[in-house]
Symmetry: C2
Subunit: 201 residues, 2 copies
Protein backbone atom coordinates (compact mmCIF):
# COMPACT_ATOMS: atom_id res chain seq x y z
CA UNK A 1 0.00 0.00 0.00
CA UNK A 2 1.09 3.51 -0.74
CA UNK A 3 -1.25 6.47 -0.20
CA UNK A 4 -5.02 6.60 -0.40
CA UNK A 5 -6.35 5.95 -3.94
CA UNK A 6 -7.12 9.61 -4.66
CA UNK A 7 -3.77 10.84 -3.33
CA UNK A 8 -2.01 8.16 -5.40
CA UNK A 9 -3.92 9.37 -8.45
CA UNK A 10 -2.94 12.99 -7.80
CA UNK A 11 0.73 12.02 -7.47
CA UNK A 12 0.48 10.09 -10.73
CA UNK A 13 -1.32 12.90 -12.57
CA UNK A 14 1.29 15.48 -11.56
CA UNK A 15 3.92 13.41 -13.36
CA UNK A 16 2.48 14.57 -16.69
CA UNK A 17 4.48 17.76 -16.03
CA UNK A 18 7.94 17.76 -17.66
CA UNK A 19 10.78 17.06 -15.22
CA UNK A 20 8.42 15.84 -12.49
CA UNK A 21 9.09 12.29 -11.27
CA UNK A 22 7.42 10.33 -8.45
CA UNK A 23 9.40 12.03 -5.68
CA UNK A 24 8.73 15.61 -6.70
CA UNK A 25 5.10 14.78 -7.59
CA UNK A 26 4.70 13.52 -4.01
CA UNK A 27 6.27 16.70 -2.64
CA UNK A 28 3.95 18.80 -4.83
CA UNK A 29 0.83 16.88 -3.78
CA UNK A 30 1.69 17.31 -0.09
CA UNK A 31 2.44 21.01 -0.48
CA UNK A 32 -0.87 21.59 -2.26
CA UNK A 33 -2.86 19.66 0.35
CA UNK A 34 -1.00 21.07 3.34
CA UNK A 35 -0.73 24.76 2.58
CA UNK A 36 -1.70 25.68 -0.98
CA UNK A 37 -5.32 24.60 -1.26
CA UNK A 38 -6.50 27.94 -2.68
CA UNK A 39 -3.58 28.08 -5.13
CA UNK A 40 -4.19 24.48 -6.12
CA UNK A 41 -7.87 25.16 -6.83
CA UNK A 42 -6.85 28.18 -8.92
CA UNK A 43 -4.36 26.02 -10.84
CA UNK A 44 -6.98 23.34 -11.51
CA UNK A 45 -9.39 25.97 -12.83
CA UNK A 46 -6.90 27.96 -14.92
CA UNK A 47 -5.44 24.77 -16.39
CA UNK A 48 -8.87 23.65 -17.56
CA UNK A 49 -9.61 27.11 -18.99
CA UNK A 50 -6.25 27.20 -20.78
CA UNK A 51 -6.67 23.75 -22.31
CA UNK A 52 -10.19 24.62 -23.43
CA UNK A 53 -9.35 28.01 -24.90
CA UNK A 54 -5.71 28.33 -25.91
CA UNK A 55 -5.01 27.35 -29.48
CA UNK A 56 -2.73 28.71 -32.18
CA UNK A 57 -2.84 32.13 -33.84
CA UNK A 58 -4.35 31.60 -37.29
CA UNK A 59 -1.59 33.69 -38.84
CA UNK A 60 1.66 33.10 -36.92
CA UNK A 61 0.83 29.88 -35.01
CA UNK A 62 1.90 31.14 -31.57
CA UNK A 63 -0.22 30.21 -28.56
CA UNK A 64 -3.22 32.47 -28.00
CA UNK A 65 -6.83 32.22 -26.86
CA UNK A 66 -7.78 34.64 -29.65
CA UNK A 67 -8.19 33.86 -33.33
CA UNK A 68 -5.31 36.25 -34.12
CA UNK A 69 -2.61 37.05 -31.52
CA UNK A 70 -1.87 40.57 -30.27
CA UNK A 71 1.32 40.94 -32.34
CA UNK A 72 -0.36 39.86 -35.59
CA UNK A 73 -3.31 42.14 -34.80
CA UNK A 74 -1.10 45.21 -34.36
CA UNK A 75 -1.13 47.46 -37.49
CA UNK A 76 2.21 48.99 -36.36
CA UNK A 77 3.87 45.59 -36.62
CA UNK A 78 2.77 45.17 -40.24
CA UNK A 79 4.65 48.33 -41.26
CA UNK A 80 8.12 46.83 -40.80
CA UNK A 81 7.81 44.38 -43.69
CA UNK A 82 9.81 41.88 -41.64
CA UNK A 83 8.91 38.34 -40.65
CA UNK A 84 11.00 36.48 -38.07
CA UNK A 85 10.75 32.68 -38.01
CA UNK A 86 11.30 31.04 -34.61
CA UNK A 87 10.86 27.58 -33.18
CA UNK A 88 8.73 28.36 -30.11
CA UNK A 89 6.58 31.00 -28.38
CA UNK A 90 9.35 31.31 -25.76
CA UNK A 91 11.67 32.53 -28.53
CA UNK A 92 9.15 35.27 -29.37
CA UNK A 93 9.23 36.41 -25.75
CA UNK A 94 13.05 36.38 -25.69
CA UNK A 95 13.24 38.50 -28.86
CA UNK A 96 10.50 40.86 -27.68
CA UNK A 97 12.46 41.46 -24.49
CA UNK A 98 15.40 42.85 -26.49
CA UNK A 99 13.12 45.62 -27.76
CA UNK A 100 15.10 45.57 -31.04
CA UNK A 101 12.60 43.97 -33.36
CA UNK A 102 9.35 45.58 -34.48
CA UNK A 103 8.18 43.11 -37.11
CA UNK A 104 6.01 40.01 -36.97
CA UNK A 105 6.78 36.35 -36.23
CA UNK A 106 6.09 32.94 -37.58
CA UNK A 107 6.26 30.27 -34.87
CA UNK A 108 7.09 26.77 -36.11
CA UNK A 109 6.23 25.06 -32.81
CA UNK A 110 9.21 22.78 -33.36
CA UNK A 111 11.78 22.01 -36.05
CA UNK A 112 12.13 19.53 -38.91
CA UNK A 113 13.01 16.16 -37.45
CA UNK A 114 12.46 13.31 -39.90
CA UNK A 115 13.45 10.69 -37.31
CA UNK A 116 10.64 11.87 -35.01
CA UNK A 117 8.26 12.11 -37.94
CA UNK A 118 8.15 15.93 -37.87
CA UNK A 119 7.78 17.13 -41.47
CA UNK A 120 7.02 20.50 -43.13
CA UNK A 121 3.26 20.17 -42.63
CA UNK A 122 3.73 19.71 -38.84
CA UNK A 123 5.52 23.08 -38.72
CA UNK A 124 2.69 24.80 -40.57
CA UNK A 125 4.88 25.62 -43.55
CA UNK A 126 1.75 25.56 -45.74
CA UNK A 127 0.37 28.35 -43.52
CA UNK A 128 3.65 30.22 -43.98
CA UNK A 129 3.52 29.83 -47.78
CA UNK A 130 -0.04 31.14 -47.86
CA UNK A 131 1.06 34.14 -45.83
CA UNK A 132 4.00 34.81 -48.16
CA UNK A 133 1.57 34.55 -51.10
CA UNK A 134 -0.91 36.97 -49.53
CA UNK A 135 1.55 39.62 -48.35
CA UNK A 136 4.83 40.88 -49.76
CA UNK A 137 7.52 40.93 -47.07
CA UNK A 138 10.85 42.75 -47.48
CA UNK A 139 12.80 40.35 -45.30
CA UNK A 140 12.43 36.96 -43.67
CA UNK A 141 14.74 36.55 -40.64
CA UNK A 142 15.63 32.98 -39.72
CA UNK A 143 15.95 32.72 -35.94
CA UNK A 144 15.72 28.96 -35.52
CA UNK A 145 18.13 27.44 -33.00
CA UNK A 146 21.77 26.86 -33.99
CA UNK A 147 21.34 23.07 -33.77
CA UNK A 148 21.51 20.48 -36.54
CA UNK A 149 17.70 20.40 -36.76
CA UNK A 150 17.37 24.18 -36.46
CA UNK A 151 19.88 24.71 -39.29
CA UNK A 152 18.17 22.16 -41.55
CA UNK A 153 14.85 23.86 -40.85
CA UNK A 154 16.39 27.27 -41.65
CA UNK A 155 17.68 26.00 -45.03
CA UNK A 156 14.30 24.54 -45.88
CA UNK A 157 12.46 27.78 -45.07
CA UNK A 158 15.07 29.92 -46.87
CA UNK A 159 14.20 27.99 -50.05
CA UNK A 160 10.50 28.72 -49.60
CA UNK A 161 11.18 32.41 -48.97
CA UNK A 162 13.39 32.74 -52.05
CA UNK A 163 10.74 31.09 -54.22
CA UNK A 164 8.42 33.87 -53.01
CA UNK A 165 10.98 36.54 -53.85
CA UNK A 166 11.62 37.48 -50.21
CA UNK A 167 15.21 38.21 -49.17
CA UNK A 168 16.39 35.98 -46.35
CA UNK A 169 18.72 36.59 -43.40
CA UNK A 170 19.93 34.46 -40.52
CA UNK A 171 20.62 35.83 -37.02
CA UNK A 172 24.34 35.89 -36.15
CA UNK A 173 25.94 33.14 -34.06
CA UNK A 174 29.23 33.39 -32.23
CA UNK A 175 30.86 34.13 -28.93
CA UNK A 176 28.20 35.56 -26.56
CA UNK A 177 28.72 39.19 -25.54
CA UNK A 178 30.47 39.18 -22.18
CA UNK A 179 31.43 35.54 -22.70
CA UNK A 180 35.03 34.42 -22.36
CA UNK A 181 36.63 32.82 -25.38
CA UNK A 182 38.17 29.97 -23.42
CA UNK A 183 34.77 29.01 -22.01
CA UNK A 184 33.01 28.89 -25.38
CA UNK A 185 32.65 25.48 -27.06
CA UNK A 186 34.71 24.75 -30.19
CA UNK A 187 31.72 24.63 -32.49
CA UNK A 188 30.61 28.14 -31.51
CA UNK A 189 34.17 29.39 -31.82
CA UNK A 190 34.65 28.04 -35.35
CA UNK A 191 31.25 29.52 -36.24
CA UNK A 192 32.44 32.89 -34.99
CA UNK A 193 35.62 32.59 -37.09
CA UNK A 194 33.71 31.69 -40.24
CA UNK A 195 31.34 34.58 -39.59
CA UNK A 196 34.11 37.16 -39.06
CA UNK A 197 33.69 40.62 -40.55
CA UNK A 198 36.09 43.40 -41.61
CA UNK A 199 37.05 45.41 -38.53
CA UNK A 200 35.98 49.05 -38.86
CA UNK A 201 38.04 51.53 -36.88
Amino acid sequence: MRFSPLLDELIKSLQVLPGVGPKSAQRMAFALLERQRAGGRKLSHVLEQALDNIGHCRQCRTFTEEDICAICASPKRALSGQLCVVESPADVVAIEQTGQYQGRYFVLMGHLSPLDGVGPEDLGLDVLENWLDAESFDELILATNPTVEGEATAYFIADIARRHGVSVSRIAHGVPIGGELELVDGNTLSHSFMGRKAFSE
Copy 2:
Protein backbone atom coordinates in the same frame (compact mmCIF):
# COMPACT_ATOMS: atom_id res chain seq x y z
CA MET B 1 3.99 42.11 -23.51
CA ARG B 2 4.61 38.52 -22.59
CA PHE B 3 2.19 35.79 -23.56
CA SER B 4 -1.57 36.00 -24.06
CA PRO B 5 -3.43 36.80 -20.78
CA LEU B 6 -4.65 33.22 -20.24
CA LEU B 7 -1.24 31.69 -20.96
CA ASP B 8 0.35 34.21 -18.58
CA GLU B 9 -2.17 33.20 -15.94
CA LEU B 10 -1.42 29.50 -16.43
CA ILE B 11 2.32 30.13 -16.09
CA LYS B 12 1.67 32.12 -12.91
CA SER B 13 -0.67 29.50 -11.44
CA LEU B 14 1.84 26.68 -11.99
CA GLN B 15 4.28 28.51 -9.72
CA VAL B 16 2.17 27.53 -6.74
CA LEU B 17 3.96 24.16 -7.03
CA PRO B 18 7.07 23.87 -4.82
CA GLY B 19 10.34 24.28 -6.69
CA VAL B 20 8.63 25.68 -9.81
CA GLY B 21 9.83 29.15 -10.86
CA PRO B 22 8.87 31.25 -13.92
CA LYS B 23 11.14 29.33 -16.31
CA SER B 24 9.98 25.83 -15.46
CA ALA B 25 6.35 27.00 -15.21
CA GLN B 26 6.70 28.26 -18.79
CA ARG B 27 8.19 24.95 -19.89
CA MET B 28 5.34 23.09 -18.16
CA ALA B 29 2.64 25.26 -19.73
CA PHE B 30 4.11 24.73 -23.22
CA ALA B 31 4.45 20.97 -22.72
CA LEU B 32 0.83 20.71 -21.55
CA LEU B 33 -0.48 22.79 -24.47
CA GLU B 34 1.73 21.19 -27.09
CA ARG B 35 1.54 17.51 -26.33
CA GLN B 36 -0.12 16.71 -23.01
CA ARG B 37 -3.61 18.12 -23.36
CA ALA B 38 -5.31 14.90 -22.21
CA GLY B 39 -2.89 14.51 -19.28
CA GLY B 40 -3.37 18.17 -18.39
CA ARG B 41 -7.14 17.80 -18.35
CA LYS B 42 -6.78 14.74 -16.14
CA LEU B 43 -4.50 16.69 -13.79
CA SER B 44 -6.97 19.58 -13.57
CA HIS B 45 -9.80 17.20 -12.73
CA VAL B 46 -7.89 15.01 -10.23
CA LEU B 47 -6.44 18.08 -8.51
CA GLU B 48 -9.92 19.50 -7.95
CA GLN B 49 -11.20 16.13 -6.71
CA ALA B 50 -8.24 15.76 -4.37
CA LEU B 51 -8.62 19.25 -2.90
CA ASP B 52 -12.35 18.70 -2.43
CA ASN B 53 -12.09 15.27 -0.87
CA ILE B 54 -8.72 14.62 0.77
CA GLY B 55 -8.59 15.53 4.44
CA HIS B 56 -6.96 13.98 7.47
CA CYS B 57 -7.66 10.59 9.04
CA ARG B 58 -9.73 11.25 12.17
CA GLN B 59 -7.49 8.90 14.16
CA CYS B 60 -3.92 9.20 12.85
CA ARG B 61 -4.09 12.48 10.88
CA THR B 62 -2.53 11.12 7.67
CA PHE B 63 -3.99 12.26 4.34
CA THR B 64 -7.01 10.29 3.22
CA GLU B 65 -10.33 10.85 1.46
CA GLU B 66 -11.97 8.53 4.01
CA ASP B 67 -12.96 9.34 7.56
CA ILE B 68 -10.51 6.71 8.81
CA CYS B 69 -7.48 5.67 6.72
CA ALA B 70 -6.85 2.11 5.56
CA ILE B 71 -4.13 1.44 8.15
CA CYS B 72 -6.24 2.65 11.06
CA ALA B 73 -9.22 0.66 9.74
CA SER B 74 -7.25 -2.61 9.65
CA PRO B 75 -8.05 -4.86 12.67
CA LYS B 76 -4.72 -6.68 12.12
CA ARG B 77 -2.82 -3.45 12.73
CA ALA B 78 -4.51 -2.95 16.09
CA LEU B 79 -3.15 -6.27 17.37
CA SER B 80 0.46 -5.09 17.58
CA GLY B 81 -0.14 -2.63 20.40
CA GLN B 82 2.43 -0.32 18.78
CA LEU B 83 2.05 3.29 17.71
CA CYS B 84 4.72 4.95 15.57
CA VAL B 85 4.83 8.76 15.54
CA VAL B 86 6.14 10.34 12.32
CA GLU B 87 6.27 13.84 10.90
CA SER B 88 4.67 13.26 7.49
CA PRO B 89 2.63 10.83 5.36
CA ALA B 90 5.79 10.27 3.26
CA ASP B 91 7.45 8.82 6.37
CA VAL B 92 4.58 6.34 6.71
CA VAL B 93 5.20 5.20 3.14
CA ALA B 94 8.96 4.87 3.76
CA ILE B 95 8.38 2.74 6.88
CA GLU B 96 5.68 0.66 5.19
CA GLN B 97 8.11 -0.13 2.38
CA THR B 98 10.51 -1.79 4.85
CA GLY B 99 7.78 -4.33 5.64
CA GLN B 100 9.15 -4.46 9.22
CA TYR B 101 6.43 -2.65 11.09
CA GLN B 102 2.90 -3.97 11.60
CA GLY B 103 1.51 -1.38 14.01
CA ARG B 104 -0.31 1.90 13.55
CA TYR B 105 0.92 5.46 13.02
CA PHE B 106 0.32 8.94 14.28
CA VAL B 107 1.21 11.59 11.70
CA LEU B 108 2.13 14.99 13.13
CA MET B 109 2.03 16.80 9.75
CA GLY B 110 5.07 18.77 10.87
CA HIS B 111 7.18 19.28 13.99
CA LEU B 112 7.24 21.71 16.91
CA SER B 113 8.67 25.00 15.68
CA PRO B 114 7.94 27.89 18.05
CA LEU B 115 9.62 30.40 15.73
CA ASP B 116 7.18 29.49 12.95
CA GLY B 117 4.29 29.47 15.40
CA VAL B 118 3.85 25.69 15.24
CA GLY B 119 2.73 24.51 18.68
CA PRO B 120 1.40 21.21 20.13
CA GLU B 121 -2.17 21.90 18.98
CA ASP B 122 -0.99 22.33 15.34
CA LEU B 123 0.47 18.82 15.48
CA GLY B 124 -2.79 17.36 16.77
CA LEU B 125 -1.25 16.32 20.08
CA ASP B 126 -4.70 16.67 21.67
CA VAL B 127 -5.91 14.05 19.20
CA LEU B 128 -2.95 11.86 20.19
CA GLU B 129 -3.73 12.25 23.91
CA ASN B 130 -7.36 11.29 23.34
CA TRP B 131 -6.18 8.21 21.47
CA LEU B 132 -3.78 7.24 24.27
CA ASP B 133 -6.66 7.73 26.74
CA ALA B 134 -9.04 5.55 24.74
CA GLU B 135 -6.68 2.69 23.95
CA SER B 136 -3.82 1.13 25.89
CA PHE B 137 -0.72 0.82 23.72
CA ASP B 138 2.29 -1.30 24.67
CA GLU B 139 4.83 0.90 22.92
CA LEU B 140 5.05 4.33 21.32
CA ILE B 141 7.91 4.52 18.77
CA LEU B 142 9.27 8.00 18.06
CA ALA B 143 10.29 8.23 14.40
CA THR B 144 10.49 12.00 14.02
CA ASN B 145 13.44 13.28 11.99
CA PRO B 146 16.89 13.52 13.63
CA THR B 147 16.86 17.33 13.39
CA VAL B 148 16.76 19.88 16.21
CA GLU B 149 13.00 20.32 15.75
CA GLY B 150 12.38 16.61 15.32
CA GLU B 151 14.28 15.83 18.53
CA ALA B 152 12.44 18.53 20.52
CA THR B 153 9.15 17.16 19.21
CA ALA B 154 10.20 13.61 20.21
CA TYR B 155 11.00 14.75 23.77
CA PHE B 156 7.66 16.52 24.05
CA ILE B 157 5.70 13.47 22.87
CA ALA B 158 7.74 11.10 25.04
CA ASP B 159 6.50 13.08 28.06
CA ILE B 160 2.89 12.71 26.96
CA ALA B 161 3.31 8.98 26.39
CA ARG B 162 4.91 8.40 29.80
CA ARG B 163 2.09 10.31 31.49
CA HIS B 164 -0.23 7.78 29.85
CA GLY B 165 1.88 4.85 31.07
CA VAL B 166 3.05 3.87 27.59
CA SER B 167 6.68 2.82 27.19
CA VAL B 168 8.55 4.93 24.67
CA SER B 169 11.30 4.09 22.16
CA ARG B 170 13.20 6.10 19.57
CA ILE B 171 14.37 4.66 16.25
CA ALA B 172 18.16 4.24 16.02
CA HIS B 173 20.36 6.80 14.29
CA GLY B 174 23.89 6.21 13.08
CA VAL B 175 26.00 5.27 10.11
CA PRO B 176 23.69 4.09 7.29
CA ILE B 177 24.01 0.42 6.32
CA GLY B 178 26.33 0.23 3.31
CA GLY B 179 27.54 3.75 4.05
CA GLU B 180 31.23 4.54 4.37
CA LEU B 181 32.41 5.97 7.66
CA GLU B 182 34.54 8.65 6.04
CA LEU B 183 31.56 9.95 4.07
CA VAL B 184 29.25 10.26 7.08
CA ASP B 185 28.94 13.70 8.72
CA GLY B 186 30.46 14.21 12.17
CA ASN B 187 27.14 14.64 13.91
CA THR B 188 25.87 11.27 12.69
CA LEU B 189 29.18 9.65 13.60
CA SER B 190 29.16 10.96 17.19
CA HIS B 191 25.53 9.83 17.44
CA SER B 192 26.55 6.36 16.36
CA PHE B 193 29.33 6.31 18.99
CA MET B 194 27.01 7.40 21.78
CA GLY B 195 24.49 4.80 20.67
CA ARG B 196 27.01 1.93 20.55
CA LYS B 197 25.99 -1.51 21.88
CA ALA B 198 27.83 -4.51 23.30
CA PHE B 199 29.09 -6.62 20.40
CA SER B 200 27.58 -10.11 20.48
CA GLU B 201 29.65 -12.84 18.83
